[in-house]
C-alpha cells in the first residue's frame, strides 16, 4: 500500500482507516470507557430512581443531567444506536485488519521450509556453531535423532562438501491470531441473530395453571406454539435455616393436546422445547381460596390416607371420629423471645397450618403443624404430615428463544483453539549445516522463531549439547 496519501483512492483510504492499529486502540478504549459508564448509571431504571442517585453528585442539576444522559442513550446504553455502531466499527476493524494481513501470513503457512543458501543462512536471528570429532555422515544420524526427539521431522539436502538438515514445527500456529479474530466475528454474528430472531420474556405460572404464551417486559404476549403447565413449585431450604437450597418447578409441556414432556427444573437446569428454553428465575406467593392443603394423615392404628382440602374444610383421621379442620395458616411461622408466634416472611419459608381437632362437634385440641418440622406432625390421635399448600405459589420462569446461541458457542470453541495456537504454539525453524573440516565435522546451526525467542534459544543450546554429547 502506498504511503503517498494523494495517490490513494477513497477505497484505499477507507481500507487503511479500518485496518489500522490506531483505530483498534481507539475502539478498545472507547468501548471500555463507555461500558464502564453503563455500570455506574443504572440501566433501564425508573427515571425518579436515577435522578435521586444523580442528585447526590449534581444536586439540583440532577434532572437536567438525567435528561442529557437519557437523550444520549446512557440510561439504556448497551442497546443504544451508538453502542451498536461502536461494536460494528470494532467488527469492521477486526475483519479488515485481518484481511489486510492474512495474504502475507497465508503465504508463509502454505510454504514448507526450504534449505537456505549461505547468505540466508548467515542472517538468521539465532546462530550457533560446534565442532565434532567425526565425519559429517556420522554426525548426520545423531542430529536427525536429536531433532526427532524434540518433535521435528528433519529433511536433508546434500550440497557439495556439506549436508544441510532442516526442519520446522508449528507452521499453522501462525493462523491462531486470525482464528481468534474470526471467532469474535462469529460470536458477534451469533449475538445479532439472537437479537433479531430471538425472544426474551417471562412467565409467572401458578401451580396447577397452564399458559400458551410468555410475556415481554412491556406486557406483549408471545405465543409459544404449545402449552406449558406448572404442576408444582417448591423452595427447599438448608436444615434449620432460611438459606435456600433449591428452587424447583415441575413442568409439563402440552403440544396438540398431548403431554409431551414432564420435567423438574431448577436454577442451573432449564427445560428446552422446540427452541424455547424455560429457566427458573423467580417465584412468588399468592394464596387464594382454591389453594389446597395436602396432608398425609395416619391414625395411631397405622392407617394412612392422603387428603387435600381447602381452607376451612375438614377431614377425618382414618378409622376414628376425630375431625380436623384448617383454622389458621402462616407462610413463615416464627417465634419471638417471649414465645409469641408471628409470621416473619411473606414467602413460604416455613409454612404452618393451625389444625383444630373436634370430636362430636366439640373442640378437643388444636395444633400448629409445620411443613419443615416433622416433630410437629404428631398429634394426640395420629400423625398429620403437612405435605404442601398447593396452588398458592407461582413459579417465575424466564422464557427465551435464541437461535444464535449455538453460533456463539461455536465461536467460543474456535476462540479457545485460536488462543491456544496463538499463545502456546510457535512456528520455529532450524537449519543445520554439517561440513567436513579435517576429520572433524563443523556443525553450524541457524534458527528462527516467531515467538518466545529466549526460550527457543535455550532449546537450541540444549539441542547442541545433546548432539555434541
Amino acid at each position: 500500500m502506498s504511503d503517498n496519501k494523494r495517490n490513494q483512492s477513497i477505497v484505499d483510504r477507507i481500507w487503511n482507516f479500518f485496518s489500522s492499529i490506531t483505530l483498534a486502540v481507539v475502539v478498545f478504549t472507547v468501548i471500555s470507557l463507555t461500558s464502564i459508564v453503563g455500570t455506574i448509571i443504572e440501566q433501564q431504571a425508573e427515571p425518579e430512581r436515577s435522578i435521586k442517585l444523580l442528585s447526590k453528585m449534581f444536586g439540583d442539576a440532577a434532572p437536567g443531567v438525567y435528561k442529557v444522559l437519557d437523550a444520549l442513550g446512557f440510561t439504556n446504553m448497551y442497546h443504544s444506536w451508538w453502542f451498536f455502531a461502536l461494536l460494528f466499527i470494532f467488527a469492521a476493524n477486526l475483519v479488515i485488519c485481518s484481511l489486510d494481513r492474512l495474504p502475507k501470513i497465508w503465504k508463509l503457512v502454505k510454504e514448507p521450509i526450504k534449505p537456505l543458501n549461505p547468505e540466508q543462512f548467515n542472517v538468521m536471528p539465532i546462530k550457533r556453531e560446534a565442532q565434532l570429532k567425526a565425519g559429517p555422515d556420522e554426525v548426520k544420524g545423531t542430529v536427525e535423532a536429536a531433532l526427532k526427539k524434540i518433535g521435528y521431522r528433519p529433511l536433508t539436502r546434500r550440497e557439495d562438501g556439506s549436508i544441510q538438515i532442516y526442519a520446522e514445527k508449528g507452521r499453522h500456529s501462525r493462523l491462531g491470531v486470525y482464528i481468534v479474530h474470526f471467532s469474535i466475528l462469529v460470536i458477534l454474528i451469533g449475538a445479532v441473530i439472537g437479537m433479531l430472531f430471538g425472544f426474551n420474556g417471562s412467565l409467572n405460572l401458578l401451580e396447577g395453571t397452564t399458559s400458551s404464551a410468555a410475556y415481554q417486559g412491556n406486557g406483549t404476549a408471545y405465543p409459544l406454539g404449545f402449552e406449558i403447565r406448572c404442576d408444582d413449585f417448591e423452595v427447599s431450604f438448608y436444615d434449620n435455616s432460611d438459606a435456600p437450597k433449591a428452587y424447583k418447578s415441575w413442568l409439563t409441556i402440552i403440544d396438540n393436546g398431548k403431554e409431551v414432556i414432564k420435567k423438574e427444573i431448577d436454577v442451573n437446569n432449564p427445560l428446552k422445547y422446540k427452541g424455547i428454553t424455560f429457566y427458573q428465575a423467580s417465584y412468588g406467593f399468592s394464596p387464594n381460596k382454591d389453594s389446597l392443603f395436602r396432608f398425609a394423615v395416619m391414625s395411631n392404628a397405622g392407617v394412612v390416607q392422603n387428603i387435600q382440602i381447602k381452607f376451612g374444610e375438614s377431614f377425618e383421621i382414618p378409622g376414628t371420629k376425630i375431625v380436623g379442620k384448617v383454622a389458621g395458616f402462616s407462610p413463615a411461622l416464627g417465634q419471638d423471645e417471649t414465645g409469641r408466634l408471628f409470621t416473619y416472611a411473606e414467602m413460604m419459608n416455613n409454612p404452618a397450618a393451625l389444625v383444630e381437632f373436634t370430636e362430636g362437634g366439640k373442640l378437643k385440641y388444636k395444633q400448629w403443624i409445620l411443613k419443615r418440622y416433622p416433630q410437629t406432625w404428631k398429634v394426640q390421635d395420629g400423625t398429620v404430615e403437612f405435605k404442601d399448600l398447593w396452588g398458592a405459589q407461582y413459579t417465575g420462569l424466564q422464557v427465551r428463544k435464541d437461535p444464535g446461541v449455538w453460533i456463539v458457542y461455536l465461536g467460543s470453541i474456535l476462540m479457545a483453539l485460536g488462543l491456544f495456537a496463538a499463545f502456546f504454539m510457535s512456528h520455529s525453524r532450524v537449519w543445520i549445516k554439517l561440513s567436513d573440516e579435517k576429520k572433524t565435522a563443523k556443525v553450524s546451526v541457524a534458527a528462527s522463531t516467531n515467538k518466545n525467542k529466549i526460550s527457543f534459544e535455550q532449546k537450541i543450546d540444549k539441542f547442541i549439547k545433546t548432539v555434541t554429547g
Partner: protein, 271 residues
C-alpha cells in the same frame, strides 16, 4: 483446624514479606533463599487450609470474599513459584509477596463462616470458571509486580544509579519478556474464564451475556490486555509502556474483584 492452618499460612507469608521487603534494601543469596523457603512452607500450609475447607464446604472454597481473597493469594503464589522455577529471580518476591500479604490480610478480616451454596452456584462450572478466572488474574497480578520492577530498573538506569538493587534486579529485557509471558498466560485464561462464565450464565440466568457490571468490568480488563498485546506486536510498545499498561490492567482487575462486589449492583456478587 481450618482457622489454625489459615492463620499459620498468614504468619508465614507475613514473615516472608518482611524478609522480602528488607531484601530490597539489603539482600543476599541466603536471605533470598530463606524468603523462598518460608514462602514455600506458607504455600503448603495455605494449600492444606484450602483443601481442608474444600472438604468442609463440599466445593471449591471461593464463594465468600474471605475465601475468594485467600484463593486469589494462593494463585498468585502459585504463579510466582512457576516463574521462580523457570527464571530463578529471588528478588521478584519483594514485589509480589506484598500483594499476597495484602490479599491474605483482607481475607483474614472478612467474615469466615462457611455458607451453604445458593442454588445459582450449584453447578460444575463453579470450580472451572473461578479457577480459570483466578489463575488469569494471578498472572496479571504478578505482571503488575514485574511491571513495577521494570519501571524501577529503568529509573536506576536513567539516573545512573548502577549499584545495590540495580544489580539484583534482572535486566530490562528479561523483565519485559517475563511481563509478556505473564500476559500471554493471563489473557487466554481470562478469555476462557469469560467464556465459561457466559456458558454458566446461560444455564443459570438464561442469558450468556447481559451487560452485568461484573461482565462489563471483565470485558474492560480483557480489552486492556488485548490492547497490550496488539500494541506490542504491531506498534512495538514494549518495555516501559507495557509495564505501565500492566499496572493499569491490574488496578482494573482489583476493582472488578472488590469494587464490583462491594460498590455496584451486580448479579455476580455472592457475598
Amino acid at each position: 483446624m481450618g482457622t489454625i492452618l489459615f492463620e499459620l499460612a498468614l504468619t508465614f507469608y507475613f514473615t516472608a514479606t518482611i524478609i522480602s521487603v528488607v531484601e530490597v534494601f539489603k539482600g543476599s543469596k541466603e536471605s533470598s533463599r530463606l524468603m523462598l523457603i518460608i514462602t514455600g512452607i506458607g504455600f503448603l500450609i495455605h494449600s492444606s487450609s484450602i483443601i481442608y475447607r474444600y472438604f468442609a464446604a463440599g466445593h471449591l472454597p471461593i464463594t465468600s470474599m474471605h475465601e475468594a481473597s485467600s484463593f486469589f493469594a494462593w494463585c498468585v503464589v502459585l504463579i510466582f513459584f512457576l516463574l521462580e522455577y523457570k527464571y530463578k529471580i529471588g528478588i521478584m518476591g519483594s514485589f509480589i509477596l506484598p500483594v499476597v500479604f495484602v490479599l491474605m490480610l483482607s481475607s483474614s478480616v472478612l467474615p469466615r463462616g462457611i455458607h451453604p451454596l445458593s442454588p445459582v452456584l450449584q453447578s460444575y462450572w463453579l470450580g472451572i470458571h473461578t479457577f480459570l478466572a483466578f489463575l488469569g488474574n494471578a498472572s496479571f497480578a504478578v505482571a503488575f509486580g514485574v511491571g513495577i520492577m521494570y519501571l524501577l530498573q529503568e529509573h536506576y538506569l536513567k539516573s545512573k544509579h548502577l549499584h545495590g538493587l540495580f544489580k539484583r534486579l534482572p535486566s530490562l529485557q528479561i523483565l519485559d519478556e517475563i511481563n509478556y509471558k505473564l500476559i500471554s498466560l493471563g489473557f487466554p485464561l481470562l478469555t476462557l474464564a469469560i467464556i465459561t462464565g457466559a456458558l454458566w450464565a446461560e444455564s443459570a440466568w438464561g442469558s450468556y451475556w447481559r451487560w452485568d457490571p461484573k461482565e462489563v468490568w471483565s470485558l474492560t480488563t480483557w480489552f486492556i490486555y488485548a490492547l497490550v498485546l496488539h500494541v506490542r506486536l504491531t506498534a512495538g510498545w514494549r518495555g516501559r509502556k507495557a509495564a505501565i499498561l500492566s499496572i493499569i490492567g491490574f488496578s482494573v482487575i482489583l476493582f472488578t474483584f472488590f469494587g464490583v462486589n462491594l460498590l455496584l449492583k451486580s448479579l455476580h456478587s455472592f457475598v
